[in-house]
Symmetry: C2
């Protein structure tokens, strides 16, 4: 039994408390400064405003002001913040321990500084105090995992990735339940790049639905699944290219973190809804202003986080722009309010056309 701190009371952070408590770990769930109302609701009714499953009675909810108290004696930190919160998390956690507590990040993302792309564990590590940042053990999870389903104990399979196999085995042991199937992989790049990019490609798959509606095609007729499937496949090919470029293995691209996670992300959710709006003819600025004023959509956030850097890497000749026609298209749609037009003739450049 371990004492586990989960930072971030969003859907995924809160869902993870269920396998953790099923394994009899002592779980402290700390909301971010944006999660105050969630923590209150869990206190009062053991429910989360968005999860259908009850929060286990043994989970101790804390507002962010209680972080220091919640950290006492913790053996593992789980980061449930979103990609925009990773630097903040490093900042608030940094002074509260001395690098002796390992961290598992549920957060997915990539960032660019205009010159280079970085994985989120790198960003997290860099945000921690220099005195121990190189020593702290980090892992991250990837794979198809709708939070509500995990919370409802539906069968779910994920990959835990990091550089230290002993630590990965430890984390797997802490998380694994009869419904939560855990594999480990030392291919951090393959896992992280796949799970980050799937959001941007799910957004593209979502656009197909909107294009269809714009053309007046209804679900009762012959729809556009062929097109969605081609976009799906083009996305996976681009993920494979970028994983290879960054030094990872292709195996996780067609495994749980790539194909599996892209598949589940295309089933529904905010990337698909926003993709649909874009496909139907609204420009991103309008979607943002009307529907996302206080909200983020992961695929769009990723486009902003890496768009300029991808352009610069192509410009410098480090990346081959011809290998990334769909990513460039989505970046144009999100970052430059371009209309949705898919460059079919540029797809699958390694095949003849």
């Amino acid at each position: 039994m371990a004492k586990v701190l989960v930072l971030g009371a969003g859907m995924m952070g809160t869902a993870l408390t269920i396998p953790l408590t099923d394994n009899e770990h002592d779980v402290h769930l700390v909301g971010t400064h944006l999660d105050g109302h969630i923590i209150e609701e869990i206190h009062e009714s053991r429910t989360h405003p968005k999860l259908r499953s009850a929060v286990p009675a043994s989970v101790k909810p804390y507002p962010i002001a209680g972080l220091e108290e919640a950290m006492q004696g913790v053996g593992l930190i789980v980061l449930g913040v979103n990609s925009l919160g990773i630097e903040w998390a490093a900042e608030v956690l940094g002074p509260l321990f001395s690098g002796d507590v390992p961290i598992v990040a549920l957060t997915k993302g990539l960032v660019g500084d205009g010159q280079k792309l970085y994985l989120l564990p790198h960003v997290l590590r860099n945000g921690l105090p220099s005195s121990y940042r190189e020593e702290v053990r980090l892992a991250a999870v990837g794979g198809p995992s709708i939070a509500g389903e995990l919370a409802a104990r539906r069968p779910t399979g994920i990959v835990v990735t990091g550089s230290d196999q002993t630590f990965l085995d430890e984390v797997a042991g802490i998380l694994r339940t009869p419904y939560y199937h855990i594999w480990t992989s030392k291919d951090v790049i393959g896992v992280e790049v796949s799970v980050a990019l799937k959001n941007v490609y799910a957004l593209a798959v979502g656009m197909v639905q909107g294009l269809m509606e714009k053309e007046g095609i209804t679900e009762e007729g012959d729809v556009m699944h062929n097109m969605a499937a081609a976009i799906f496949a083009q996305g996976l090919c681009e993920i494979a290219y970028l994983v290879d470029f960054m030094g990872g293995e292709v195996e996780n691209v067609y495994g749980l973190p790539g194909a599996g996670d892209l598949y589940v992300t295309c089933v529904g959710g905010r990337n698909m809804r926003v993709g649909r709006m874009l496909g139907s003819g609204m420009r991103y600025a309008e979607v943002k202003a009307r529907y996302l004023a206080d909200d983020t959509v992961e695929g769009a956030e990723l486009a902003f986080a890496i768009g300029d850097t991808i352009d610069a890497l192509i410009e410098r000749g480090d990346l081959d722009g011809a290998a990334l026609p769909l990513l460039k298209t989505v970046i144009d749609i999100v970052c430059r309010d371009a209309a949705v037009v898919f460059p079919w003739d540029s797809f699958f450049p390694s095949l003849h056309s």
Copy 2:
């Protein structure tokens, strides 16, 4: 402009007459001995009983008795029969030409003889007269292509595969329209193994829906998309293993023929419906007797076509059974009426668990 014979008036063969006639080819559509009523209906009303789109006025429909007449002056043969009809097709076509007319097969499948696995183009070639079987030019198509959508001119992307690039370019030129996007690949094994196996794995993804219903989980609650996605990813990994085993490239596994076609096959159709029945608790023999008496389901046909051979190859140590836990499971379910139980602990064997 070419004169094209399409043999087989099923959904896919008939759908292909639409890009062909849009390209102003002279199309002769010949029904098999099972397609008599379809040919009659096309004659009378220019409609196909299952396609929503009209059959173009210029398409000349023939019953199988008219095959010889329809073959006069043909420059390309398109095979639209299903996998069970490929030997029959070779037999009826063989005497009617002398190997000078190339063939494009829409048919997908693999067969085993208890010792070895064979691609369908191999079966087709072997069924042709020995005097020219080695010379006849063959190509096959693969990729996400719901027939009704192609017939409705929805954007569709496929790969044409074969060993002769000049012929592939020719075929691509004959088929390509603004909505029918064609790539070519000389990786026949990668394309053919992917498009054949996707049926068996779609059947497995379909089972998840049935398992859910058996447990009383409704679509309104938290469903089992995480599980379906894990099965999807495991399927792709097994396709990659088998493509590599047979000497193909992994690229088409995460491209249109593998990931793209598996994605579209999981959207609906008979594999999914039969998978659902199996997942809900019916054994295959019962499903077959009650719902498939006069009908086939591609995923199950493939399991029968390769099941014994896969077992023998594993037995002999040529194939690693540990790399194919899902295929073995589906073979047991279909060929031996086993219950649906997924071997989670055997999935993703190349990762640690």
